[in-house]
């Protein structure tokens, strides 16, 4: 976090920092951190630490990162710089009277040193010596050039060596070329050679004593992220649900009780004037509906109403030809998982029709529905349906479009057009399209229509009352809103909680 300041270990000791600053004071135009290291006789990494500490103090120094190539001794190279080359060590180990070869070979530098010293002609081997092969010096003194060269490099004077020599030493794994990241250090705008100790945080004591006035505070690193608050998170789909609820409430719509997943075929299909013979509506298809084996049948219906529904299906009436088929109560009784929340709308409209005097209503619901269909990236066996219903005298198709326009405007969608469509329980039926600026085309955003008289009149609603309705899924706009392509990444137990933690608040109109 910002308060964590540099994020590096403990601050370099003040003495070193001040030495560095004094050094910097003397040079014009700045200096390289490697030179500082050489001058102060400390390791370059220590100077790097000091530079970072100084940076944290504000504008005392200003720096520029550099990288340069540089020759460095390997572990073995350092050993040689200290103790001499293997061949020199071998040479020095041999007394004037010579040394048995097998004894020499046991020395740590024995093998390498022996062959190098041999090829340098510093020593000779007397194979025929009594008591086994023996090694003798051939010269009085030697010059250990390898050690000399390595010592030059160690002193930072590798430039004095020829490239060929360096390559040779590299081949012997005594030297390596490394890239060094260093700093070009110049005086900063508030340069000073003395360090005032900086405070990390304001304390209650400082406030009480007023000492904060004299203190310098370590600057914050505003580039770092803060610490995540310890909190819970709402699920994005539920956040969107909340917004849709809000929109309906703002528009004066009352929430329907949709807490009944199990529904009878009667309310799910028949009451809506959906045929029992699965001829037209996909939802009625056996294959798309989850039927219930236990409790298999519903056992209670409003009898008068049920008779009227039976009649309008099998014989017609209310100005309708009907579907002319043998309507069976056995089918209507079958329990299922509701395939749409319109089953609840039907219950509510029936209830409304039982009032002594009709009063206009606006209803909405957002709840789960179930389809036994093939699952893919955008289809699950359960999803949330959003539904709006308005019942009043004299509502027109133009009114439906007007309400849809208001509703979608609240979602930030203003460009709408309507396509004639087919839905077995609404007539007219319209698909709602909105212009997608990104895709540069019209995309379907919902379905709507005017409920059929064959649905409304048997309920007992007055003749002049029209009921307009529309629906859409909750998942689709949410997937678009949060940029999710696979519905399984949004709904169900497989969602990544990180996605839930990270999802922003939902404002549908922005």
């Amino acid at each position: 976090g910002a308060a964590g300041a540099t994020g590096f270990g403990s601050m370099a000791d003040t003495g070193l920092l001040e030495s560095l600053l004094r050094l910097l004071e003397k040079v014009d135009g700045g200096t390289d951190s490697q030179d500082v290291a050489a001058d102060l006789g400390v390791d370059h990494q220590v100077i790097v630490g000091a530079v970072k500490s100084l940076q944290a103090l504000g504008e005392v120094i200003s720096t520029e990162q550099k990288s340069s190539k540089h020759w460095e001794l390997t572990g073995e190279g350092r050993e040689i710089a200290e103790q001499g080359s293997h061949e020199a060590r071998v040479f020095n180990a041999i007394p004037d009277e010579g040394l048995p070869q097998n004894g020499l070979m046991k020395m740590p530098s024995g093998k390498v040193g022996f062959s190098k010293a041999m090829s340098n002609k510093w020593i000779r081997l007397d194979k025929a010596h009594e008591g086994g092969p023996r090694v003798f010096k051939t010269v009085e003194t030697i010059e250990d050039t390898v050690r000399d060269k390595l010592q030059l490099v160690q002193k930072g004077q590798s430039a004095k060596l020829e490239d060929k020599e360096k390559t040779e030493l590299k081949k012997r794994k005594l030297l390596s070329e490394v890239t060094v990241k260093s700093y070009w250090i110049t005086k900063g705008s508030s340069f000073s050679t003395t360090i005032t100790k900086q405070e990390t945080e304001l304390t209650p004591e400082m406030i009480a004593s007023g000492s904060w006035k004299e203190k310098k505070f370590k600057p914050y690193n505003f580039e770092a992220m803060g610490v995540a608050p310890d909190c819970g998170h709402l699920h994005p789909l539920m956040k969107v649900r909340t917004q849709f609820r809000q929109i309906f409430l703002e528009m004066g719509f009352t929430e329907m009780p949709t807490n009944n997943f199990i529904e009878s075929s009667f309310w799910n299909f028949d009451s809506l004037f959906l045929q029992i013979n699965p001829q037209q509506h996909p939802a009625r298809d056996q294959h798309d509906t989850f039927f219930i084996s236990d409790p298999a049948l519903a056992h209670e219906f409003p009898q008068d109403y049920l008779e009227r529904v039976k009649q309008v299906h099998s014989e017609g009436g209310y100005g309708s030809q009907g579907y002319k088929y043998d309507w069976k109560i056995e089918e209507a009784q079958k329990n299922l998982l509701r395939t749409h929340t319109t089953a609840v709308s039907a219950r509510m409209l029936y209830k409304l029709a039982q009032q002594e005097k009709f009063t206009p209503v606006k209803y909405f619901s957002i709840d789960r529905v179930f389809r036994n269909e093939t699952l893919d990236a955008t289809h699950l066996a359960e999803f949330h349906q959003i539904e709006g219903v308005v019942a009043d005298y004299g509502l027109t198709l133009g009114n439906l479009m007007g309400v849809l326009h208001q509703f979608f405007t609240k979602l930030g969608i203003t460009k709408l057009r309507f396509k004639p469509a087919y839905n077995p329980y609404t007539e007219p039926s319209m698909e709602v399209f909105s212009y997608h600026e990104g895709l540069k085309k019209w995309v379907e955003v919902g379905n709507s229509g005017v409920f059929r008289p064959e649905m409304l009149l048997p309920m007992g609603l007055p003749e002049g009352v029209s009921v307009i309705a529309w629906g859409l899924s909750l998942e689709r706009p949410t997937m678009i809103k949060y940029g999710i392509n696979n519905i399984r990444e949004l709904v169900g137990h497989k969602v990544n909680l990180q996605m839930v933690y990270d999802s922003p608040i939902c404002r549908l109109d922005s």
């Binding site: 709402l234 807490n259 066996a381 009043d392 396509k419 004639p420 007539e427 007219p428 059929r452």
Partner: protein
């Protein structure tokens, strides 16, 4: 929604006009169709079977057009063109006429015997006289039959269509039913004779026909149609006989449909266009087992009378009766102003079986007017909004549960029996679960009876997340309940889990205290809430308590049983709370 595939150039030729793809798409949109895809046989083949197979296939441009599920009159090129041409006022809707045989000849007759009672005791028939097919027309004819079979005929279970070359057979025809062993004929596309029983086993491996075998397979008698000489015409709904089916070069067609008059009307209205005398269909007589004689096709026209005011008021427009009559005429509903007030007489042709109410006529007027020309207006319906108290409580609690540091999960309402029983160490019988009769997989066997399985699965899927994991869900479970009309009810529950290296019972207990504080219920034995040691097989013995509020048990909390943890593919201890929130409404 059925999709009709037509050759673009053929379509434009028939429409007498060329369109760009965009223009045609617009026309479809306005008329209630959808230009779903622009493709070619080659493209389809290459997509489905790879480029190699597509080599040499036709690259003639095909339009795939989605047609509303109730518009059987738009399921072929002929119908689509007719509908669009009338809509564009380039053509007057034809009148379909049933005619008697020329030269006073006897009509063709189909006699239905009483044996059919056990299978499909209805059939209708008609004759397409002096018809001229081309390759394209013939293909369209076959495709329409297939489309009708798939849609209105519900994969042949409701209706079966047979079409035959009348010049190769001779009436009267008999529609009867016989034991499968007694039926022998040479079926379409086969070179030898089979008995019906042999055919059934032969077609078991036919990718197309095997889907229709179940309709008659287990019947003692199979439906069969013979001509006067005992020649088999067809064994509906499975197959026609060879040699007697309608062919490209035949001139007179005999159409038989089991069950539905609408289907027969649809076939003959669409293709009578190609008869020497277009749009006429020669009648056929059908004699029923009870001696009743009916003449088909019906080709019934029906007249409805409605007022211009009705249309105006329902659509939200203000048009004269004359102009509304004109709009309807454009939808193949020939209409006239009757002269009485603003009454309009609307004639419903046999092709428009979808028109069953004045509202269907109203919709057609609105389509012809143009949905997008209708002025959008806000209804003046004044209402005061109310939230459902249960949802209001849920919304408020969800907010505060996240404030308490718990993250909301959203899990499925459907699950397996194992999820709510074995995995929680419960007996399925005791769960009061609602069972699904037709689940495709085990994931959809029951409706959840508690929220815990979903939360445990969410934990399992997120084991890599930093601990502790604190999750909650407030949602519905479903329980059997005899007192409800459907025998089951939803129950809104609150469930939360704490998953960490230590069980954290105190965390879950603290959450209960917080929830009760939010619900304004004080700790206490009588009017308040308290918890009390309990045994529950889902929880670790001695680490489970029952929650009581105002003396009523509302749920449990505790440390989950180690077996529940491991059966959920989890490794850490976990404590949970599961409670009913409905008592707090």
């Amino acid at each position: 929604m059925p999709t009709v595939s037509v050759k673009r150039d053929l379509l434009f030729e028939a429409l007498g006009q060329k369109y760009t793809d965009e223009e045609f798409d617009e026309l479809c949109f306005e008329f209630g169709l959808e230009l779903d895809e622009i493709t070619s046989e080659k493209e389809i083949l290459s997509r489905e079977q790879g480029d190699e197979k597509a080599e040499g296939a036709s690259d003639v441009v095909l339009y795939k057009i989605d047609v509303p599920a109730n518009r059987y009159d738009l399921l072929c090129l002929e119908g689509l063109v007719r509908g669009l041409q009338v809509f564009k006022e380039k053509l007057e809707a034809p009148r379909y006429k049933r005619v008697s045989p020329a030269d006073g000849g006897e009509p063709q007759r189909l006699v239905i015997t009483e044996e059919t009672a056990s299978v499909r005791p209805h059939a209708v028939a008609a004759v397409l006289r002096n018809i001229t097919f081309t390759q394209e027309r013939y293909e369209s004819f076959i495709e329409l039959q297939e489309k009708l079979h798939q849609n209105i005929c519900r994969k042949r279970t409701l209706v079966a269509i047979g079409t035959h070359d009348l010049d190769t057979i001779s009436g009267p025809f008999t529609y009867t039913a016989k034991p499968p062993g007694d039926i022998r004929f040479k079926p379409l596309n086969q070179s030898k004779e089979y008995t019906a029983a042999e055919l059934i086993s032969h077609y078991k491996t036919d990718s197309h026909l095997r889907h229709y075998l179940h309709i008659i397979e287990n019947e003692p008698l199979y439906p069969i149609i013979y001509d006067n000489n005992g020649i088999v015409l067809s064994m509906p709904p499975v197959i026609n006989a060879k040699n007697y089916s309608m062919l490209l070069n035949m001139r007179n067609g005999f159409c038989v449909c089991l069950q539905a008059k609408i289907t027969l009307d649809m076939i003959v209205t669409m293709f009578s266009e190609y008869c020497d005398e277009p749009f006429t269909v020669e009648e056929a007589e059908v004699v029923y087992p009870d001696g009743r004689l009916c003449v088909y096709p019906e080709l019934a026209y029906r007249t409805e009378t409605l007022s211009g005011d009705f249309i105006n008021k329902r659509v939200g427009i203000n048009e004269s009766a004359e102009s509304i009559a004109q709009l309807l005429t454009r939808m193949c509903l020939r209409s006239e102003v009757s002269g009485e007030g603003d009454l309009i007489q609307v004639e419903i042709p046999p092709t428009r079986a979808d028109v069953i109410h004045a509202c269907d006529i109203m919709e057609d007027a609105a389509i012809a007017y143009g949905f997008n020309n209708i002025i959008r207006s806000t209804p003046r319906t004044y209402t005061v909004a109310n939230q459902l108290p249960l949802n209001k409580l849920t919304e408020l609690l969800r907010q505060d549960l996240t404030a308490a540091g718990f993250t909301e999960a959203l899990t499925f309402a459907l699950c397996s029996q194992e999820d709510i029983a074995d995995k929680l160490r419960k007996n399925i019988v005791e769960t009061r679960a609602v069972h699904i009769s037709n689940p495709k997989t085990a994931e959809f066997q029951v409706v959840r009876t508690c929220l815990l399985p979903g939360l445990l699965k969410t934990l399992a899927a997120n084991r890599k997340m930093p601990l502790p994991l604190k999750l909650f869900e407030i949602s519905d479970v479903v329980l059997k309940d005899e007192t409800k009309d459907v025998g089951a009810r939803n129950n809104r529950r609150l469930c939360a889990v704490y998953y960490n290296k230590s069980p954290g019972f105190e965390v879950i207990h603290g959450l209960l205290d917080r929830v009760m504080q939010l619900l304004d219920v004080k700790p206490g034995r009588n009017q308040g809430y308290h918890i009390q040691a309990a045994e529950d097989s889902t929880f670790f013995p001695g680490r489970c308590a029952e929650i009581f509020s105002c003396g009523k048990s509302i749920g449990h909390l505790g440390v989950l049983h180690p077996d529940v943890i491991s059966r959920s593919e989890l490794t850490m201890p976990c404590s949970a709370i599961d409670m009913d929130i409905e008592p707090f409404l």
